[in-house]
Amino acid sequence: MRFEPVIGLEVHAQLKTKTKIFCSCSTKFGAPPNKNTCPVCTGMPGVLPVLNKQAVSFAIRCALATNCAIAHESRFDRKNYFYPDLPKGYQISQYAMPIAEHGHLDIESENGNRTTIGITRIHMEEDAGKLIHDAARSKTMVDLNRTGVPLVEIVSEPDIRSPKEAGAYLRKLHSIVQYIDVCDGNMEEGSFRCDANISLRPVGEKKFGTRTELKNLNSFRHVEKALQYEIERQAYILEDGKKIVQETRLWDPAKSRTISMRSKEEAHDYRYFPEPDLVPLIVDDQWIAKEKENLPELPEKRKARFIADYKIPSYDAEVLTSTRELADYFETASKNIKNKKQVSHWVMGPVLGLLKAKSTDIKNSPVSPEMLAELITLIENRTITAGAAKTVFEEMISSDKNPVTIVKEKGLEQVKDNTELENIINQVIEANPNELEAYKKGKTKLFSFFMGQIMKKTRGKADPAAVTELLKTKL
């Protein structure tokens, strides 16, 4: 039997407010344990939460960027459960009346088709703390720095049909929250986290099968791998005529498999009820309009604009707009360059390659967009050849000098004088009589041999087009 996976994703994105959602403690990551705490976020007796307006603004922006309808009145609820990293014994969240609902995101699926993934709801909540296990002292410690950091939970409809689609949706969402500047997107620090719900059903069947929930998915790759594993696991069980157990499963990246964490029967009863310490959250049209103004151009629009205005291929535009910083980098670099394709080629090739090699990101690129623009200008006005440009680029990284200086110091200006070039070509032909003989006898492939020899001699400074022309006549 052939099965179709039905996948829904729950994404938790940390909002990058300066202070926590219900107190004025800092949200900065990496402080010493329990440094960023106060009576409110540590749940001392008698203290009360006060909602951070900035967090609401950020949630509104999320809702706008994902085409959600924003509730003029929403409400906070208490989610009750006991755990040492939850100092109040409940998490303040939104349950019955979330701030936003009924949104969607368009993604490009594997075969290039566009698919719409529905977004059920976006709600605001506070993050919990962290447990630190000290094996040496066989003790468990609690760090409450993260307690009360604002989160939005973005819940998708079960519209996703493959792990690849899940990956595409996540990447899109990841890029959006960074674009709109509400989340730093750092998955290692847990700023952007994902849980997945997955079930299988026979192809053609309308009813959903029994689902499992997957947790501990710390990267896009893990999401895709875990879903793939779960598809195979569930298919195996179903093909055997057995039933899927509704449960929460933990992804074990080391063993590349999911393991059972708790079954439906063991699931918590969170005893949600309206948070009596907070008043209903009222968001009027004015507030929404203000956040709309604060919204930058979203990746989808920006991509379309890149294709239309800069005449670059769809694939390039997709890559370049994948993060706001990269798109900004590209636009800064290409500002005064006519041939935008040339810039896209340089950004996607050497620049991204360099970032990967140095395992850094575009914000910390060793080559600034201005420097790159200078380099490309040198190519465009034929001061240097494309080949020489590569040398200059390498030198820019290691020496921190600007391209013009490097070209001057290394004497890399393009050889434009034809007599000088002719001399070199003659030298090369004379030095290789055997190859010349063979070429003349019809081994035309040797043309590139001569080209190579000439380029080597000119150290890449010659314009390949000019060389080709001259060489043709000489041979």
Binding site: M44, P45, V47, F82, P84, Y272, F273, D277
Partner: protein, 502 residues
């Protein structure tokens, strides 16, 4: 002149005239506490050193004040006045136990909003008073530490949950006090102890620093010797607080203007409603009924028009209250888990075991009972039937009062169906205890203000109180009518006789 018997306004006048010092006043009260509190048990913590130090500071400030400042009323309103605080109010650096073993040694790093307002107004904090554990009870018998006895008769309860605060005022062991009221916890002990207790409108006084029992019902208010004192304390503790989102951002009147309103216009033109549903309450003590009818007559003589009103959902009030309050409590008390502060059971061998043992040993029976009730009421599958329905009843009760206050300015009723019962009389009978809250619960459910004013003594010499309720944020009507009533009620005794208790 007995210093310990002074009201706030009497003491204030004498302090300003420099006829007495705050230190003298504090010393007199400390002496009084020393003599009687072993028997009464009003206090859990007496901050003798702190109080004397604050009194000295107040005396210095009083000495520095120019006569012009007095005249202009620029002096901090409670400068040098000794106040007792219910131990549910957090006090910076001073133990705050909520009368629970689970917080036996808890010292907050912050003052509650009301306490910091009192301190700013120059008040001297004498100590922290006994109460039902986490304010759950109507007799102060549920304290995790000790009993408080009724100063009018030590065999009887002082009422609760603010029993210690009420007893401290009745026994003249403090000049003023603060309590909290979730279902009658200010008004009922005030009634039982023969003092004045005012529960303000929900949102009038910030709850910041008040350890939550039921967040949507809790409210802080004064327990004092007379209505004028209540107005003076209300002037200090009321107002919006950014730290409490449920505190109302509206103008605060000068509550003493309610007194001048009476002095100028009497009570003529005022209408008082008596809910017909209250009169059919079972188990109304004949002495209470008599005192209430007498009170009605006093008001009528003052020109108040008495009318009958209807609060049709009265019969559902207790049931709805005992779903909502325990539900919120079950969540509010979750934080006392032994992890960060307070009591932790050390005999446990894993996390769940630690939670269970800590809570079972740290909380008293009534608290555990309400946590269990509330947890059940919020459980999946029961939420709609319990919490959901109770919330609907609550909005119906609110509508009842809204409609009633279209016809009258205040609603009057007894505070409790009986005078203070004997210690131990109902301790194993929580239901009777819950039912005795019938007259007070609805004000909390509707969020409206209510006041209890002494209106008579029972045949056994126990005080009886009259309750007045008004529309939201109309405490002024309560103060005006309460003051008028107080000036005209004839009480055979103002203070209990403690001679044989010392």
């Amino acid at each position: 002149m007995d210093l310990h018997e002074l009201t706030i306004h009497q003491a204030e006048a004498l302090l300003k005239k420099r006829e007495i010092s705050s230190k003298e006043l504090v010393k007199a009260l400390l002496e009084r506490i020393d003599t009687f509190d072993d028997t009464i048990g009003a206090y859990l913590t007496i901050d003798e050193k702190g109080a004397l130090k604050q009194a000295e500071d107040a005396d210095k400030r009083l000495a520095d004040l120019t006569p012009d400042a007095y005249a202009a009323d620029d002096a901090p309103p409670l400068l040098g006045i000794p106040i007792a605080l219910k131990d549910l109010l957090c006090t910076k650096g001073l133990k705050t136990t909520c009368a629970s073993k689970i917080l036996e040694n808890f010292v907050p790093q912050y003052d509650s909003f009301a306490v910091s307002k009192l301190k700013k107004a120059g008040a001297v904090i004498l100590g922290k008073t006994n109460m039902d554990e986490f304010a759950m009870g109507s007799s102060t018998e549920n304290s995790g530490f000790k009993l408080t006895r009724n100063p009018w008769n030590p065999d009887h309860i002082p009422g609760g949950s603010s029993g210690g605060s009420a007893a401290s005022i009745a026994a003249c062991m403090a000049t003023g006090s603060l309590g909290s009221d979730t279902g009658g916890s200010i008004r009922q002990p005030a009634s039982h102890c023969g003092v004045v207790g005012l529960k303000p409108t929900y949102g009038r006084v910030s709850r910041f620093g008040l350890v939550s029992y039921a967040s949507s019902l809790d409210q802080i208010g004064p327990i004092t010797r007379d209505v004028k004192d209540a107005a003076l304390m209300m002037n200090v503790i009321s107002g919006h607080d950014e730290m409490d989102s449920t505190s109302a951002d509206i103008d605060v009147p000068d509550f003493t203007s309610g007194l001048s309103m009476f002095e100028k216009n009497g009570l003529k033109g005022m209408k008082a409603g008596i809910p017909k549903e209250f009169l059919s309450v079972k188990g109304l003590d004949p002495d209470v009924e008599k005192a209430f009818m007498n009170s009605k007559k006093i008001l009528e003589n003052l020109g108040v028009e008495i009318i009958e009103v209807s609060l049709p959902h009265t019969e559902y009030t207790i049931a709805a209250y005992y779903v909502i309050a325990p539900s919120e409590a079950s969540s509010n008390l979750a934080r006392f888990d032994g992890v960060k502060y307070g009591f932790r059971d050390k005999t446990c061998d894993n996390l769940i075991d630690m939670y269970k043992k800590t809570k079972s040993k740290g909380f008293g029976n009534e608290v555990q009972r309400r946590i269990i009730i509330g947890t059940y009421a919020l459980s999946a599958g029961y939420y709609d039937a319990y919490y959901g329905r109770a919330s609907k009843v609550r909005s119906l009760i609110m509508d009842d009062f809204k409609n009633a206050f279209k016809q009258c300015d205040i609603i009057i009723s007894p505070v409790a169906p009986t005078p203070a019962f004997k210690i131990g009389e109902h301790i194993d009978d929580p239901l009777t205890m819950y039912l005795s809250d019938i007259f007070t619960l609805s004000a909390n459910m509707a969020g409206i203000p209510g006041i209890s004013i002494p209106c008579g003594l029972s045949s056994k010499g126990l005080p009886i109180g009259l309750q007045m309720m008004a529309d939201r944020f109309d405490e002024l009507s309560l103060i005006r009518a309460g003051y008028g009533f107080e000036q005209n009620v004839n009480l055979s005794m103002r203070f209990p006789d403690l001679k044989n208790l010392g």
